[in-house]
């Protein structure tokens, strides 16, 4: 099967419930993004939620312990990301609504021909997104922009569709007319270029990955990114980051419904390498969640101690 066929099936609501295998060959952010878009589209057209599986042996379990909820009366689309899969038998043929995202797939040639044919037909190679496709995507998400502006945005983020998508989501709040105006203002005031790569989110993202190298680069911007008076906002962001990490990394079955996060957020968090053990995550959470009380109680003097320095040191030396 190729991607056009699947696209057509989604558009006409004819996506079967059979297994689908997305093959990336080489994982790149753009390929993962594209695969994720199709997963979301399939779940949307079937009107079911998405469940992310740690491995193929994981089964769905009820996640509600303290309160009763109605059992799902419909099967979710289950997604499993694994590096490589070697298909040695036909067991996967009978899986419904399962999407595998793999780098490499191999099918045992000694299997019956109909089995081999099935797996061939359900395997889709995810192509690298071309520049024109990303430009098309930009223009479809933000109709108020023109081609020049779309191209400018593409170049600004070097075709990184995750970054581009983040900016486009901000523009979605505005009408087409306003979008065009805003981009012109941002370009004129060099707002995007001022903080094109570094933003307050970069600090928290780098912290969540324990990326010392990245933090060293961003550190020089700390007084710009966390201005005096906005310390509580920074604490809130770090608090949320590590709470979400704990939520996703310790959940048996991290679904949007169970965790109150979007599937994109869950996906992004799951792809963060495990830079901290569960015990470390809980320690960090304890430190950060108590900071709010300490500052408001007067136990912590934000005039005497830089909050960014304090948090970075506490977390990185955990």
């Amino acid at each position: 099967m190729n991607l056009n066929f699947l696209q057509d099936a989604i558009a006409n609501n004819r996506v079967s419930d059979s297994l689908i295998i997305f093959v990336l060959e080489k994982e790149t952010p753009n390929k993962l993004f594209l695969a994720n878009q199709y997963v979301n589209a399939i779940a949307k057209v079937k009107k079911v939620p998405i469940t992310y599986l740690d491995n193929l042996e994981t089964t769905s379990e009820e996640d509600e312990l303290f309160d009763s909820i109605e059992t799902l009366s419909y099967k979710p689309v289950r997604v499993c990301r694994i590096k490589q899969i070697d298909i040695k038998n036909d067991s996967l043929m009978h899986e419904d609504r399962l999407i595998l995202i793999v780098d490499k797939v191999s099918v045992n040639k000694e299997l019956p021909s109909d089995v081999i044919e099935f797996f061939d037909s359900q395997t889709i190679k995810i192509p690298t997104l071309e520049e024109w496709q990303i430009l098309d995507y930009i223009l479809s998400k933000a109709e108020g922009l023109n081609e020049d502006t779309a191209k400018w945005l593409y170049n600004l983020y070097s075709g990184d569709i995750f970054r581009i998508n983040m900016e486009l989501e901000k523009l979605e709040l505005f009408t087409n007319y306003e979008q065009g105006k805003l981009i012109d203002i941002f370009k004129k005031d060099e707002i995007f270029e001022d903080i094109p790569k570094e933003s307050i989110f970069e600090i928290t993202n780098a912290l969540s990955r324990r990326d010392i190298e990245k933090l060293s680069l961003i550190y020089k911007y700390r007084d710009v990114l966390v201005k005096p008076g906005s310390e509580m906002g920074f604490i809130a962001l770090v608090y949320k980051t590590f709470k979400n990490l704990i939520l996703v990394k310790t959940a048996k079955n991290p679904t949007p419904e169970a965790l109150g996060l979007t599937s994109g957020q869950i996906w992004a968090i799951r792809n963060i390498p495990n830079a901290y053990t569960s015990a470390e995550l809980l320690k960090i959470f304890d430190i950060v969640s108590d900071l709010d009380r300490k500052i408001k109680n007067g136990e912590f003097d934000t005039q005497a101690v830089n909050i960014v320095d304090y948090i970075l040191i506490k977390i990185l030396t955990i």
Binding site: D63, E64, L65, F66, D67, Y239, K243, I246, L247, V248, T250, A251, K252, P254, A258, L259, G260, S278, L282, F285, D286, S289, D290, D292, R293, K296, N297
Partner: protein, 267 residues
Amino acid sequence: MVGQEKIQKLIADLTLENFPNPLLLYGEWGCGKSLVSHTIANKFNLEFKDISESLILETLDDAYINPTPALYYINTEIFLSGNKVDRATNVILKFLEEPPKNAFIILSCTNPNRLKNTITNRCQAWGFVPYSIEELKKFTEDDSLLEIAHTPGQIISYSEQPIKEMIDYANSILDKLHLATPSNTFKIENKLSFKPPVEKNTYDVSIFMRVFVFCASKRCVDNFSEKSASIYKIIQKMNEDIQVPYVSKDYVFSRYLMKLWKCTHES
């Protein structure tokens, strides 16, 4: 007024000549401080003016030019929980140092230690004693309500709350926490409202914390163990920290949830 015989006697013996100006009433919320203030105002036909929300110098100016005798009531809890403590304190001090001619001043608080000494030293204090169960039974027969509420005002306020449901939920948490993942445990927050107004199908966290403390202490009493004592201490501290003025209650709550989780998972 039910109970509080000492205060009732003090009111009976009160005259305009021996009025302790200013008067400080202190006791747990709902114990009757506002009721006593109104009673005193009615006894002497004084205009009752609650200036708790408008503690600014302009309010005092009005008091100085007002020829009619009036009772000025200040509920200090309103500004002690906010970020205008210093300004409000200075206004009160000015009011107390130079009281207007026809003004009778009553301050109220839950704990006089939270007020500056310069204020409390100027006041005569009347403290409300804890209500007995027999006294509280005059307001309700609901046993679960009597466990949680300690004053008539609290009974009236909590009687509109689903206390039984909260008790069931609190017990469910204490029963099942040892089975939960941290991710599961965070979901407990979804049942609570941390800021007014209280959302539909959720519980007010301040009231829920009282219930939680009660349930934990009951377990400790009924079946004492090191673990039940540790759990009770954590919940007790959780309740204290949540009362810290203008703290983010959800942060405090989630922090202690993780402590509880850790405690229940330690061998």
